[in-house]
């Protein structure tokens, strides 16, 4: 079954073109890794797929629902791990997750489950502003998977995480999670290892779209030159 279908996607900010003529298809359970230098349009693509931005042109279908018309049907089935943790600094990790759990209609038991899964239970009662960046990222991972989403949208998911934490979150957001994933990455080796499909963006335009097995790390490095 097709999880993502994008055809001729365009998006601009004022006069500036952020995305243009992006087309791809991703099957359920597959992982798409998006590479590209800063400002290439990776985050814009993720935000469109998350229903946070409206596409200005083209056709976008997420989990069988067309955007932006059927965005309401997509919300709640998508988990977004963005640059910002989408958490309130003055609230504790537990309070933040309980807040999101109520919005998603998820029980409190699940909050404790995900806190335990990211090994943050012992610090879950402390305000977020007192935690390190890595710990905040762990809480953000917990928030992204709290409602057991079908599609994960991950913007550099391992940023601020040490190797042990990367292993810790692997069952939640890694290949083992068995979820359909779209990952923005700057790491050619790690990204290719995770990918089924590779998308390369430069200045909002698609310069590479191929099965991961057919892509050489050098081609990814070339995108950044």
């Amino acid at each position: 079954m097709v999880a993502l279908e994008v055809e001729g996607l365009a998006r601009h900010y004022g006069e500036r073109e952020a995305l243009s003529e992006v087309s791809l298809t991703l099957q359920e359970g597959q992982t798409l890794v998006v590479f590209g230098p800063n400002g290439a349009g990776k985050t814009t693509l993720l935000r469109i797929l998350a229903t946070l931005l409206r596409p200005h042109g083209g056709y976008v279908s997420v989990l069988g629902s067309q955007l932006p018309e059927e965005a309401w049907a997509v919300r709640g089935r998508v988990g977004l791990l963005a640059h910002e943790p989408l958490l309130y600094r003055e609230l504790t990790a537990r309070e933040n997750l309980r807040f999101h759990a109520r919005l998603h209609g998820v029980g409190e038991q699940r909050v404790e489950e995900v806190l335990e899964a990211v090994a943050i239970s012992s610090r879950a009662g402390e305000p977020l502003r007192t935690l390190s960046r890595g710990m905040v990222q762990l809480v953000a991972v917990a928030r992204a998977v709290l409602h057991d989403p079908e599609l994960l949208l991950l913007d550099e998911p391992h940023s601020n995480l040490d190797p042990a934490a990367v292993e810790l979150v692997a069952p939640l957001i890694g290949a083992a999670s068995k979820r359909t994933r779209v990952i923005c990455s700057h790491d050619p080796g790690g990204g290719l290892a995770e990918a089924d499909l590779v998308l390369g963006l430069r200045a909002g335009r698609m310069v590479l779209l191929r099965e991961a097995a057919e892509v050489q790390p050098g081609e990814i490095t070339e995108l950044y030159r």
Binding site: L52, G76, A82, L86, H104
Partner: protein
């Protein structure tokens, strides 16, 4: 909807209790302004139009402080995105923010109104209190609805601290006029027989109109 509004209200209360950014600031501003009026007017007491004018203008400017802070945590810490990703009715945020601002206004008026009576009124507020409470409630509701609408619009811009008051003040003028006119007879020493009913109805109608406008527009303000 009730579950979502409840979750948002709980979050607002926790954030305010941790930061103490809104209600203490509004209260301190109002009390300081009454102190300034007390010395600047160089009179032992004020009454009637002057008293109600001082009260409502001070309450309005203090309320603007709360309006300016209303969406800052959501905009700066990704709360908007977190909310928009959830499968919930977006109007829940309007309801929650209006109730939050209404709560802030009531909380700071519990401090500000007695301070006003103490510093500027010669007579007690005792007899006028029931009518004054109704007038304040209608005024607060209007400020909460308009303030929420304007704050949601301003917070998306770079000049939000400037744009919020610039947009809110003209829209809040009818509330100040209605509130001051309805309050004036209540604070008059000669106890005129003018009924504040006409002005209370005006305030109620204005609240209703802006309530409907806010309900119709709010979803679009949250949209990209």
């Amino acid at each position: 909807m009730r579950r979502t509004v409840g979750a948002l209200l709980r979050k607002e209360l926790l954030v305010e209790l941790r930061t103490l950014e809104s209600v203490p600031g509004m209260s301190l501003f109002a009390v300081s302004t009454f102190v300034i009026f007390h010395f600047a007017l160089n009179r032992s007491s004020v009454e009637g139009d002057l008293a109600s004018g001082i009260l409502w203008v001070t309450l309005l400017f203090a309320a603007i402080l709360g309006v300016n802070r209303l969406f800052v945590a959501d905009a700066d810490q990704g709360g908007f995105d977190g909310f928009l990703l959830a499968p919930v009715d977006r109007s829940a945020m309007l309801v929650a923010k209006v109730l939050t601002l209404l709560g802030f206004l009531i909380a700071f008026e519990i401090v500000a109104v007695p301070a006003f009576a103490l510093l500027l009124l010669g007579s007690s507020l005792g007899d006028a209190m029931p009518d004054l409470l109704i007038t304040l409630a209608l005024g607060d509701l209007g400020v909460a609805v308009i303030g929420t609408l304007v704050a949601a619009l301003a917070v998306q811009t770079r000049a939000r601290d400037l744009l919020g008051p610039l947009l809110a003040l003209p829209l809040l003028v009818p509330i100040v006029i209605g509130g001051a006119r309805a309050t004036s007879p209540l604070l008059s020493v000669s106890h005129p027989t003018d009924s504040p009913l006409r002005w209370l109805l005006t305030l109620g109608l204005y609240d209703l109109i802006f309530g409907l406008i806010a309900f119709a527009l709010f979803d679009f303000l949250l949209e990209d």
